[in-house]
């Protein structure tokens, strides 16, 4: 799931600009076990801690919550404006996530404002198998995914 600050309560407006994403994230987090290990950068951890805290009951299976997202340069209105390389980068990263074997070009990710620190650490978990994709969209020019793996 992406580390979107708009998911945090301190940035709540009267209307939720990420309602669909929030629902997908909460469903996915509720599906995790009680013993959640977070793979994320510092900002992603803030979002993860909040969402995990929103969930009451959970099973006792150890699990991982990975926070990251694709490029933030997918359109002229995107936070980082349009970079022509963004869509190809996200397609490749998304395909590797779906396959359960994330491959990250860290240097290009940095240029395209993609948050991949947590995603890069997923490789330590081995082959995760095919993902269930709950959310795949770029509503603000930033590529978001919510995916689940069970292995």
């Amino acid at each position: 799931m992406p580390g979107v600050f708009a998911l945090l309560p301190e940035y709540a407006g009267l209307e939720d600009p990420v309602a669909g994403l929030r629902a997908a994230c909460l469903d996915a987090v509720a599906w995790l076990g009680r013993d959640v290990r977070v793979l994320a950068d510092a900002q992603g951890r803030r979002v993860a801690d909040h969402l995990v805290g929103c969930i009451g009951d959970a099973v006792d299976e150890p699990s991982y919550l990975v926070v990251g997202n694709g490029s933030a340069k997918r359109s002229e209105k995107a936070p980082g404006h349009l970079d022509e390389r963004a869509h190809a980068f996200d397609e490749a990263l998304g395909a590797s996530l779906r396959a359960g074997r994330p491959e990250v070009d860290a240097a290009l990710a940095h240029e395209l404002w993609a948050s991949v620190e947590g995603i890069a650490r997923m490789r330590d978990l081995g082959d995760l198998g095919t993902a269930q994709v709950d959310y795949d969209d770029d509503p603000f020019g930033v590529q978001y995914w919510v995916m689940r793996w069970e292995w």
């Binding site: 600050f5 009267l14 600009p17 995107a78 020019g141």
Partner: protein, 287 residues
């Protein structure tokens, strides 16, 4: 405290737009534009669409002019209140009157609020509000006679006078049987005040808010704005909104206005800056 305006309740942090609807041929701003009943009704429909929670229906202009007796005032407002009540059941209906006789008649027709712009000139108005289950707006005028302009009026401390008189009026209303949740105070800009007085009550409005009573401000296009900026009626919106912003920051709850949309935006913006209201929809930098 929850604010109860007749049939309607509002949360502690709600700010409300009270749109002015004149059933007069000669009010200073609209100069009779809604004198005809159908024009006034169209104005009600418009301000409801614009988001006003309250309409304030008046049958007599505030400034000196032709004598309008109670019978004539009632003929201008009572049936109109009943028509608005039927058409807009969710709307708070306020009537701008100082007369108890008129107050009783409009409450029977469906009014929720008696807006006494003249500071309790008719001592029985509080009884009319209590009997009718209506809220009452308690204003400060310095004791002037209704429909007179201030002339060399002076105060040691205009804000202290406004607090003293409006709180005394509020306590008198509660003693008469008006619910404490239905009492609002209003410093009454320009009424019994020169421009310097109105500017001072604007600057120190927080002291009125600190009384705990909800505060109404009626700033719209008034002379204190006109004199401050040397602008005629019709060119005072910017000044009105600046004064509105100051009152909003101080915590005013109800805004009696000609321009609903502009005032709502101003009040919402200020209250959001003050941290009392979230932004409507925030995503910039948070994607």
């Amino acid at each position: 405290m929850t604010l109860r305006l007749g049939r309607h309740e509002f949360a502690d942090d709600a700010t409300l737009m009270m749109a002015i609807v004149n059933r007069t041929p000669d009010s200073f701003y609209d100069k009779g534009a809604t004198w005809a009943e159908d024009r006034a009704f169209e104005r009600v429909a418009l301000v409801v669409e614009q988001g006003a929670e309250i309409v304030d229906i008046g049958g007599i202009k505030a400034a000196p002019g032709v004598e309008i007796d109670a019978a004539e005032e009632k003929s201008r407002v009572v049936d109109f209140v009943a028509r608005v009540r039927e058409a807009f059941p969710q709307l708070v209906i306020s009537v701008d009157t100082w007369r108890a006789e008129v107050g009783r008649a409009v409450c029977a027709a469906g009014a929720d609020v008696l807006n006494d712009a003249w500071g309790g000139a008719d001592p029985e108005l509080v009884d009319a509000a209590a009997e009718g289950g209506a809220a009452i707006i308690c204003t400060h005028t310095g004791g002037v006679t209704p429909r007179t302009r201030p002339y060399r009026i002076d105060y040691d401390d205009v804000v202290a006078a406004a607090i003293h008189d409006t709180v005394a009026y509020a306590e008198r209303a509660i003693a008469a049987g008006v619910s404490p949740e239905s009492v609002v105070i209003d410093p009454a800009h320009d009424f019994g005040k020169n421009t310097f007085h109105s500017l001072e009550v604007t600057r120190r409005l927080g002291e009125m808010v600190a009384t705990g009573y909800p505060v109404l401000v009626s700033l719209s296009n008034k002379d204190f704005v006109g004199e401050t900026l040397d602008l005629p009626v019709g060119e005072r919106l910017t000044g009105t909104l600046a004064a509105t912003a100051v009152c909003a920051l101080a915590g005013a709850r109800i805004y009696r206005v000609h321009e609903v949309v502009e005032t709502r935006q101003t009040v919402d913006m200020v209250n959001t800056i003050a941290g009392r209201r979230p932004p409507r929809r925030a995503i910039r930098g948070l994607q």
